[in-house]
Symmetry: C2
Subunit: 463 residues, 2 copies
């Protein structure tokens, strides 16, 4: 492989591979036989052809920011990491088409800095800066999905390399918004963790950067009030709603305890049981058409108050408002935390949360339930915290039972055990349990078509 790619593009264990082997949260570590770092699609093909010939398993990785361990090798020491971090061959902004074509190695923050001058952005907002390849392979969600959709919706084109004998390249790049010519093959490579092919480049739809943003933390009595407010916002300000995020009192309390300098918008000494971060954004400048985001937000919140949905509301500068929502790392300071990433039909979130707290209260009294999420699109991150103060580590079986209990509740209410983090070793066993067996079977049969020797990816989507 070194003779094909060059010495510096193939790293061996002696070169220090830790950053390719370890998950970003440090909760999993694999062992790689090597790390191949191609710089172009042609070099990706060379790696894949070589791996096919020698039946060596590869795990594609771009920014290694995934949360389900789908981008790091397993513990066998026999897999290679196919790092796409140097793949930066293509970078084209089509201003008139409002599209971006970028190789797999570019990362979100870099791209958005690059697009700033044109007044455009790739509207994905997560707590990290994933690579193009990884965003496609996990179908990244985040805090703006209600406004702009997920990565699947934003993906107008892809280039992929299949793990067949020729390492066939399928070029589906391009910025067409209408293209109904039979099978939309690119959809198969979105959210499938790089197991059907290596994503080497993507064309994304871009949106104008907002010229007006209004942000508020809203205190609501309960979930019913929160969703009442959401319905009001969608009915009267739907085009502008870019975030509708929830945070429970337990999470707020943790944040306050560990961040004395964090400015809380709420009156001193009081923390709500449930608070909602609402953001309205518009590309329309205030001097056109009379539009004021702040006035609109205040108007809808007033209507919400009149109907009893809103207890109190605090408008402020977006950076300050978001500071409370981003960068939550306090749970790990107080104990061992397990997080799950679920989603539900909006109409079932209230009853799901009630039952979740009841489950914890009756069967897992030692655990604290933390939850925050994306009410607008039904996404919820549930954290299970076992405090250090108990003086002993959590019982792994009980932790597992709790996690499974959460997923069962989710399934019972029409939801899913993976909303936006994708499938990886972290949740593969639940895939096996909750994904429709017929779809698992078909997923395995597709794998045969794209990757007959089964060399790509660390997760098995077959039964």
């Amino acid at each position: 492989l070194r003779s094909e790619l060059g010495r510096h593009q193939v790293l061996l264990p002696d070169d220090g591979l830790e950053r390719y082997e370890r998950s970003v949260l440090g909760d999993a570590t694999g062992r790689a036989a090597f790390v191949a770092r191609p710089t172009s699609t042609a070099e990706v093909r060379a790696v894949v052809r070589w791996a096919y010939r020698h039946r060596v398993r590869l795990v594609p990785q771009s920014a290694n920011s995934g949360l389900v361990h789908g981008g790091i090798p397993d513990g066998s020491g026999t897999m290679g990491v196919l790092s796409l971090e140097l793949c930066k061959e293509r970078l084209e902004v089509d201003r008139l088409g409002r599209t971006l074509t970028a190789s797999a190695g570019y990362d979100l923050d870099w791209l958005n800095d690059h697009l700033r001058g044109d007044g455009l952005m790739l509207p994905v907002d997560v707590g990290s800066s994933p690579g193009v390849g990884g965003m496609v392979a996990t179908n990244t969600g985040g805090t703006k999905v209600i406004g702009y959709g997920d990565v699947r919706r934003l993906t107008l084109g892809l280039e992929v390399v299949l793990a067949d004998e020729d390492a066939t390249v399928i070029d589906m790049l391009g910025g067409l918004r209408k293209n109904n010519t039979g099978l939309d093959l690119k959809q198969l490579f979105v959210a499938t963790g790089g197991t059907y092919g290596v994503v080497t480049a993507a064309t994304f739809e871009l949106v104008p950067r907002p010229k007006q943003v209004a942000t508020a933390w809203v205190v609501v009595k309960d979930d019913d009030a929160a969703f009442g407010l959401l319905q009001l916002l969608e009915a009267d300000a739907g085009e502008f709603l870019t975030s509708f995020e929830s945070m429970s009192g337990a999470v707020l309390e943790l944040r306050r305890r560990h961040n004395p300098d964090l400015r809380l918008p709420f009156p001193a000494g009081s923390l709500p049981d449930l608070a909602i971060l609402v953001e309205l954004s518009s590309a329309t400048p205030p001097d056109l058409g009379g539009l004021s985001m702040e006035e609109l937000l205040v108007g809808v919140l007033d209507r919400g108050a009149a109907r009893g949905h809103v207890v109190d509301a605090f408008l402020g500068r977006p950076e300050e408002m978001w500071a409370l929502r981003h960068g939550i790392d306090e749970p790990a300071k107080e104990g061992v935390a397990f997080w799950v990433d679920v989603s539900l039909p909006r109409a079932n979130i209230a009853v799901f949360r009630t039952r979740l707290f009841a489950l914890a209260g009756t069967r897992h009294r030692d655990w604290t339930v933390l939850d925050l999420g994306h009410y607008g699109d039904g996404g919820l991150h549930v954290g299970l915290l076992y405090p250090f103060s108990r003086g002993r580590p959590p019982d792994p079986e009980e932790a597992e039972a709790f996690r499974l209990g959460v997923y069962e509740l989710v399934a019972e209410h029409g939801g899913t055990f993976s909303a936006e983090h994708g499938i990886g070793p972290y949740n593969e066993r639940y895939y096996r349990r909750f994904k429709d067996p017929a779809v698992q079977r078909l997923s395995g049969e597709l794998k045969q078509l794209f990757d007959p020797r089964g060399i790509l990816g660390v997760v098995n989507l077959g039964p």
Copy 2:
């Protein structure tokens, strides 16, 4: 089959099957051995199981409004039509979730009437009222795609019946906006013309009905000016832009000639070479946040005029403005018309049109080129009109050569030969010519997985 479904649900040739055999435009007619009309998913399964057992080919059909003949049987007289028109088992509106679940037999206009009371709509706008099954199978586009996306984007869930021995039902219904659990299998049944499975129900995302709409016909000097205006609109009024439709002078002239009562917005006696229908819509009422759609549209058009993009503009009531755009049937009054449905990257539309007219002017002088379309999303309908006034029918070979020439130009400019009508016998040979052979091969292999006996659909997506 009659013993399973009941006598009245299976029609035979003596019952008169014309409306199931004939395309909506009357430009193609097939011959059906029978028409099966199941009323439920269970009955669809019974039909499919029966057809599997007897190796009888079926073509799924809902409202039979397709334009590429993908929903009518071929001429063999051996296929059955699997009509979904009576499949109305499910109809659920989830107001909080802003979703609709409906069986394949409901049609667009009926659904939108049904949703009106809740202030919601399924934002698909085409010149007909397709069924749920057909909208999914062709991934219907239309005049509002720039604002709301195509049917694929609006599809949150599907139920399909596979043509395997068991007639396996895959239930992927539900209104989840985030759901990253590996393969998103439903994507395979969108735009594939019912050849991978029978779509029996879908869950769609709904949007609030607009409370303000501003509509204008805008006269522009040329394509560059049109796209300059589009960029201005997207930069300053992007959230509101629901239509940006083009119509060429030749089409306007035809419309005027045959519709003396049609009110044209342009000054008497003058018709522009190129006119754009712009529509801005908002769910926000005028009494909230100061927003006025009309003021905003006027503001952006003023800016456009200052930059030389806008020659003249005429605001008016939406119904009146759209009357000029909808229901175009004049070409058939003047000759034999062939229409193609293409799309291009926006940046290439201007050069494509220049070359299209040059091609017609040099090699096909007897033909008139008509074009209108969806500039906002790159879609273009090109009509080739051979006038009766020539006194003889068009030479079929020349017609074919012209059509192929258009597609070749499109391909050369990064476009596609089917934008929103899908693939059917009408354009299957071009699929064979222009679709990536690797994707054709994979499409054929997928067919094997879903429909091993090859009994579903009238079109073959394999090589």
